[in-house]
C-alpha cells in the first residue's frame, strides 16, 4: 500500500502499541522466600530436677526448702539472628506449667537460613500494656493482668516455704511493671554456639529451652524467703527478682532435620 505522510505519523504509534503489548506480558513470578518452621519447647526445672507442681521439696541458694503450686510466664517477640540479619516473630505465648500444651509451640514462615543466636522477651512489651483490652494469650482472663494498676504480670510463681513470713507460709512472686526504673521486661539473647538452628525449606527444626526456677532466687541477689516472700506490686523488689531471672534460660538442645 502507499505509505502516505499521514501513515508515517501513525506508524510510530503502531510500533509503540506493539512494544507496549509485548511489554505487558506478566513479570516472571518472584522467587518466593523459602521458609521452614521452628518448634520451641520449654522445660521448667528447679536446679537439676524437673519442676513438678505441688510435690517435692526444692531448695534455693539460701537453703530455704520450698514447693511450687504454680508457674506462668509470658514469652514474646522471639527472634533469630544469622548472617543475613534477624527475624522477629511478633507473637505472645503464656507458658503455664499447669497446662503442658502451652510448653510447646511452632513458629512458621521462618526464612531458610543458619541462625547462630536465638532470643526472646520475658514479658509483654509496653505498647500492649497501654492499648486497652487484648485477647488470646493476653486476655486478662489468664490471671496475668493487674486490674488496679494496669499492666501485665510478666512472670508469676506461687508456692510455699516454712521460712516464709506470709500467712500460710505462702510464696507469691508476681513480677510486673513496664515503666521507668522498675521495668521488669527482659530481652534475653541466647547464643547457640555450635548448635546453630538450620531452618530448611518446608521442614521443622526444634529448640528446647530449659528454664531454671532457682535462678529467680540466686544471683545477683540471693533471696531468702524469710526476708522476701511476697512481691505483688511493682517496684524495686520485682526488679530484683527479674534481674535474677534474666539468666534463667539456657539452650538444652537444638534439633535440625
Amino acid at each position: 500500500m502507499h505509505i502516505k505522510y499521514n501513515d508515517i505519523k501513525i506508524l510510530p504509534m503502531w510500533v509503540a502499541a506493539l512494544l507496549l503489548l509485548t511489554s505487558c506480558k506478566k513479570d516472571p513470578p518472584k522467587e518466593l522466600a523459602k521458609v521452614g518452621s521452628l518448634k520451641v519447647s520449654f522445660e521448667n526445672y528447679v536446679g537439676q530436677s524437673k519442676l513438678s507442681l505441688g510435690s517435692s521439696d526444692y531448695v534455693n541458694a539460701a537453703g530455704n526448702v520450698f514447693d511450687v503450686s504454680s508457674l506462668k510466664y509470658y514469652i514474646s517477640n522471639l527472634n533469630l539472628s544469622g548472617a543475613s540479619g534477624s527475624v522477629f516473630v511478633n507473637k505472645y505465648f503464656l507458658i503455664d506449667e499447669s497446662d503442658h500444651s502451652t510448653l510447646t509451640f511452632i513458629l512458621n514462615d521462618i526464612p531458610v537460613e543458619t541462625y547462630d543466636s536465638f532470643g526472646l522477651v520475658v514479658g509483654v512489651d509496653s505498647a500492649r500494656n497501654v492499648s486497652g483490652a487484648q485477647t488470646g494469650a493476653l486476655d486478662p482472663i489468664k490471671g496475668m493482668f493487674w486490674d488496679w494498676n494496669t499492666g501485665y504480670v510478666m512472670a508469676r510463681m506461687e508456692g510455699s516455704s516454712a521460712e516464709s513470713g506470709a500467712l500460710g507460709d505462702q510464696l507469691s512472686f508476681h513480677i510486673a511493671g513496664f515503666k521507668g526504673p522498675h521495668n521488669v521486661i527482659k530481652n534475653i539473647e541466647l547464643p547457640l554456639g555450635t548448635d546453630n538452628i538450620n531452618i530448611k525449606e518446608g521442614k521443622v527444626s526444634e529448640i528446647v529451652l530449659r528454664m531454671d526456677l532457682l535462678e529467680w532466687f540466686t544471683s545477683p541477689k540471693t533471696i531468702s524467703f524469710d526476708t522476701l516472700h511476697t512481691v505483688v506490686t511493682g517496684g524495686a523488689e520485682a526488679k530484683l527478682i527479674a534481674d535474677n531471672y534474666e539468666s534463667m534460660f539456657s539452650v538444652y538442645n537444638v534439633i535440625n532435620p
Binding site: G132, F145, D147, W148, T150, T233
Partner: protein, 354 residues
Amino acid sequence: MRTIGRSFVLGSMMLVLLLVWESCSQDVPIKPQASLDDIEFKVPPGFPQPVYTFGGNEVTPERFKLGRALFYETRLSRDNTISCGSCHQQFAAFAHFEHSVSHGIDGLTGTRNSPALFNIAWHPNFMWDGGINHIEVQPLAPITNPIEMDETMGGVISKLKADAVYKQMFNDAYGSELINSQLIFKALALFQSLMISSNSRFDKYMRNEPGGTMSNEELNGLNLVRQKCSPCHQEPLFTDYSFRNNGLPFDTVYNDVGRMKITLDPADSMKYKVPSLRNVGLSGSFMHDGRMNTLQEVLDHYDSGIVPSSTLDPMLSGGIPLTDQEKSDIIRFLQTLNDYEFISDERFADPNFQ
C-alpha cells in the same frame, strides 16, 4: 363526613394552635428525646479531642445497645445482684447518690467514692489514683474486686453464653456469637464513651442558646471559679485530669495514700485525680472518699480547712479565701453545670425498666 361536627374541627384546631403556642414558649425548648438510632460520637463545640478514639471499636447502635445491656447487667456480679448501674446511677449523673463510699456485694464497703460517669472519653486514666490507663480495661477492676462485684471474667462469660439474647446481641454488635472479655470491655467502653454531658444551662449560655440565661449571682460565681479554681477545674471539661493534694486531712481509717500507691513516688502521696465540676449539684458526696456532703463544706474547706503537708498543691498553700457571698455565688454557678438532659436521656437509662 357530616358526623365530624364543626365544633370538633374547631376544637382540634384550637388544640393544635395551643400545642404550637406551647412549644414556641421561651423557657425550655421541647427537644425530641434522642433515640437509639441517634448513636454517634460527636465532640461538643469547644471541647478538645477525646483520648479514646474507638480504634477497632467503631460506634454502631448495636454495640451501644450491647454496652448498655452490660452496664446494667447484674450477672456481672458473683451473686447476680450488682451491676455497674447499682453504684453509678443516672439520676445522680452516674455517681452513687448520697453514698460516701459504695456498698458492693454482701454489703461490703470500700474506701473510695464512686465517681460520676460522663465525658469519660476525655480521661487519660481512670480511678481516683489513675491506676487504670485505658477505658477498655477499667471494668475489670470492679468486676473482679471481692468487695464490689466479686466475679471472674470466666464466670461472666459463662453466664452470658448461656443467654440466647446476649449471643444475638454480640452477633449484631461484633459479627459473631463469640463472647470473650475483649468484646465485653469494648462494648462497655463504647457505651460509656457516648455518655456525654455538654448541655447544662452554662453550656447553653456559652453557646448563646435558648435556655442559657444566667443570673448575676451565677455569673459572679462563674468569674470566681475562673479566677480561683483554675487550672485544676479548667473549662470546658472542668478538670485538667491532674493529680493533686488538695489539703484534706489524712484519714487513718482508710489509710489511703492515693496516687503514690501507683507510682511509688513519695511526691504523689495523698494526691488524687481532679474531678470535673460538671453535675456536682447532682452527684455529691465529694472528694475521693466522699467525706463531704455539701458544696458548702467543700468551699469552707478551701477557704479555711486546708491541712498543710509536704505534697500539698502549691496553689493551695494559702487556701482559697472566700467571703460568704462569694461561696454562695459559686454554689449558684455550680448548679448551672447540672445537665438535666443528660440525666434524663433515655438512651443511657436502664433498659430493664423501659
